[in-house]
């Protein structure tokens, strides 16, 4: 129950952050990526603002703990640099650069009722599935 409540609160905060920052506007994302054109640097400040809060909080309050407040283990970040990570990041970048939508903004835009968002979500989830089952099978 606690975990669900935390999910609700943090999901709401995350969604508000997406909406307020303008991340939900694909034009803003594409203009950020368009470094040789009319560059809009706003998104650098979105990540900057997030790190401004998370980076010190992580190192001061989270890293010294082995367990979260609810008693669950805090996962140690993986450090392995694999070809899979690089290939995946290149492929993700291609898709992100094509449409200016990534998973966060897609979820935060679900209630807009725009069919483009549903097509994007369906195809993204198909990509998840294809990758787990066919391209790079993952054991669950």
């Amino acid at each position: 129950m606690f975990k669900i409540l935390v999910g609700l609160i943090t999901g709401l905060l995350f969604g508000l952050g997406m909406n307020i920052s303008g991340m939900v506007n694909p034009y803003k994302v594409l203009n950020f990526l368009d470094v040789t054109g009319n560059w809009d640097g706003s998104l650098a400040l979105v990540i900057g603002g997030a790190l401004l809060v998370f980076l010190p909080s992580y190192h001061l309050f989270i890293k010294p703990r082995t367990h979260a407040i609810n008693g669950d283990e805090i996962p140690v970040p993986q450090q392995a640099l694999t070809p899979k990570l690089i290939i995946g990041s290149i492929i993700f970048g291609i898709g992100w650069g094509m449409v200016g939508i990534c998973p966060g903004p897609a979820v935060a835009s679900l209630l807009r009722g725009e069919s483009a968002i549903y097509w994007f979500m369906a195809s993204m989830l198909l990509g998840h599935y294809a990758s787990r089952k066919i391209l790079w099978p993952v054991k669950d």
Partner: protein
Amino acid sequence: MTEFTPWSALIGGMLLGLSVTMLMLLSGKTAGVSGVLAGIFGANNKDRAWRVAFVIAMAASLLFDPLMGLESAALPDYSLTWLLVGGLAVGIGTQLANGCTSGHGICGIGRLSMRSIIATAVFMLSAALMVWLSGGVYV
């Protein structure tokens, strides 16, 4: 062309930072949205409930836009093929890379994980290159 909006970007970003901090401190979970979504549909259903709650609350945040005087901007007039190929690439890529802009870009960089710093640099470069190569179709 969009305007540079430093203050809303910074404030929105800080809310994202607060969200990932709370989730990790309280529940020990990493708030990467691609991971949250993949987890809902994956076979491991141990953490399904909070993930569903996260996604529902995140989508519902849109209802607060009018209170804050925010208007949702129109979406680009995508061609369906372009949108589907883009979505597929985002799905495959984030699954292989085990993270996206939130997972690697915020949580990973915040933890100073070299793997996430490299992943973020690679997808930023690849995305910028894609915009440049496609001539900024929707810019």
